[in-house]
């Protein structure tokens, strides 16, 4: 394949086993080497930002499940935090802890998926992803226990969470906490020292810290480049300021480091979860919302008509994929005037072209796998 040949264009996707959904990568190849990469997206574009302008603040919560459907909890959380910021609501303590627990469980589940699929992209035929699914399923069981759903959870509410966890949740979670470290060790031994994975991912798709910041890359990608930036510590939300954990940082910013950082983050998630399960206070799970403020002489106001004051708010959290932000503009009406999602999957793709040009097709797949996109969140 060293012969110089005519450049030819390959469409990776929209139907392709490893574009993680309906995402299309137009690669111009010289032999196996990529000389140009063009992203084509929008196959899953549902115009959520427009739809959200038609619905009340509460009705918009389910949309946030369906952007990053592998991490619905964090999607919910970022959105309700934005609304809370807009309205100045302080959720009660227990709700904050519940949010922390759910986000970390979600992070673990999402990283399971990311690492499993990444191993799949490296060519491991389904085995790692099936092992990872085993643990993800157990976490989804916990979610089901808490909110009745497994994928599109719709758990967070403006001012708190939708319902308290059942009494059997904590013992089940503790039991899982005993299991997961062992499993994690298993994955580490299965994948981390695997010669082939190391050979496939070392030195591929390198982003220096400066490049990573310039391309607005966030989350594990940014940390793998050596930038110790994690919103959970930089700008703590929920109850993250009360727990003790470390940020995992990579050293070289290649694909392998991203994968290593994710594995280390899973360990830290377990650490946070253990503390959170111990420290969880009792109390209310929902703040009182300033809703039914009927003007004198008005007809009764619809009960859910949250009407935040005129203004704008930007709330960001560390979702498993990076910095997930919601930018809300309110005109005082019951629906947001502008609803913008700063989606990490989408913005992390900014650096994809930079990373893929010059490598082979096989590397491009692995790099795309390491970015860990969810097309629902890319296209929205």
């Amino acid at each position: 394949m060293t012969l110089k040949s005519e450049p030819f264009v390959v469409n990776l996707g929209p139907q392709h086993p490893s574009t993680h959904g309906v995402f299309r990568l137009r690669l111009t190849l010289d032999g196996e080497r990529i000389i140009d990469a063009d992203m084509v997206m929008g196959y899953l574009h549902r115009s959520m930002e427009k739809l959200a302008e038609e619905r009340t603040y509460t009705q918009n919560i389910p949309f946030t499940d369906r952007t990053d459907y592998l991490a619905a909890m964090t999607g919910n959380l970022a959105y309700v935090m934005a609304v809370e910021k807009l309205m100045g609501i302080e959720p009660p303590e227990r709700a904050l802890w519940l949010r922390t627990i759910m986000s970390e469980l979600q992070r673990f589940a999402s990283h399971c998926m990311a690492i499993g699929i990444f191993a799949n992209d490296c060519g491991a035929w389904q085995t790692p992803v099936m092992h990872m699914f085993r643990d993800r399923e157990k976490i989804l069981d916990l979610f089901e226990m808490a909110c009745g759903a497994r994928l599109t959870l719709n758990y967070m509410r403006i001012g708190g969470v939708s319902r308290d966890i059942p009494p059997e949740f904590i013992p089940a979670a503790r039991k899982l906490m005993q299991d997961l470290p062992r499993r994690l060790a298993e994955y580490e031994s299965l994948l981390l020292d695997n010669e082939i994975i190391v050979a496939r991912s070392r030195g591929i798709g390198v982003l220096t810290p400066e490049e990573a910041m310039a391309y607005s890359v966030s989350g594990p990608l940014l940390r793998a480049s050596g930038v110790a930036w994690d919103i959970r510590t930089a700008d703590p939300y929920a109850a993250y300021d009360k727990v003790d954990f470390d940020i995992a940082v990579g050293t070289s910013g290649d694909v392998y480091d991203r994968f290593v950082v994710r594995l280390a983050e899973m360990r830290q998630s377990l650490r946070i979860l253990e503390q959170a399960l111990d420290m969880m206070p009792s109390g209310p799970i929902h703040a009182r919302l300033p809703t039914a403020t009927a003007q004198p002489g008005d007809a009764p106001v619809a009960p859910l008509a949250l009407r935040p004051p005129v203004g704008e708010a930007y709330a960001r959290i560390e979702s498993p994929r990076g910095e997930l932000g919601f930018y809300l503009v309110s005109d005082g009406g019951p629906a947001p005037f502008r609803f913008h999602i700063r989606s990490p999957s989408f913005i992390n793709l900014s650096a994809l072209k930079k990373m893929t040009v010059g490598v082979t097709v096989a590397d491009a797949i692995v790099i795309l796998g390491s970015v860990d996109i969810v097309v629902g969140e890319v296209d929205r």
Partner: protein
């Protein structure tokens, strides 16, 4: 050689070989022509077998079908802008005349000449005998052939080296 099996095999293989050789001339698509050439080569390998030359037959399949044809396919694919058709140049008629003449002459000579035939029967174990000959009587040609192969390999590599690396080498 007059046992029925061999006779049937010969005629079958001869028809396949010659037929597909003629098809190389006839078909319009270059890739199809290469495919017919492969069939022709396999037919020739079969003919070798009827001549009890098993080592040569297997070598024929290994090198002509497995290597040279594939090289040709590669060359066709690597020159995508080149014409993929199998057309003739303006020399078609003279070439045809010359070819027919030559073929007729050769056939006539083959049939007319009184070859000093000797029916010694088929060979039994050609591989070891050829091996002995190559490393005994023919050891010098053998070495020269290996040098030739090396030279051809280096030459091919040098020819298709990307321009950039040539410039680098010159610098």
């Amino acid at each position: 050689m007059d046992d029925t099996g061999t006779v049937i095999a010969f005629w079958l293989l001869a028809v396949i070989t010659v037929g597909s050789a003629l098809m190389i001339v006839a078909v319009r698509n270059l890739i199809h022509a290469v495919v017919f050439m492969m069939v022709s080569f396999v037919g020739i390998a079969g003919l070798y077998l009827t001549l009890s030359a098993d080592f040569v037959a297997v070598t024929q399949v290994l090198l002509y079908v497995g290597a040279i044809s594939v090289l040709m396919l590669f060359a066709i694919v690597l020159t995508p802008g080149g014409s993929r058709d199998n057309a003739e140049t303006f020399l078609r008629l003279p070439a045809l005349a010359l070819t027919v003449l030559l073929g007729a002459t050769l056939a006539y000579v083959a049939i007319d000449t009184d070859w000093s035939l000797a029916d010694r029967g088929g060979f039994t174990d050609t591989a070891s005998a050829i091996g002995d000959a190559l490393l005994g009587k023919y050891v010098l040609p053998f070495e020269i052939a290996s040098v030739l192969l090396l030279a051809a390999m280096i030459g091919a590599i040098v020819l298709v080296r990307p321009e950039a690396s040539i410039e680098e080498a010159e610098e």
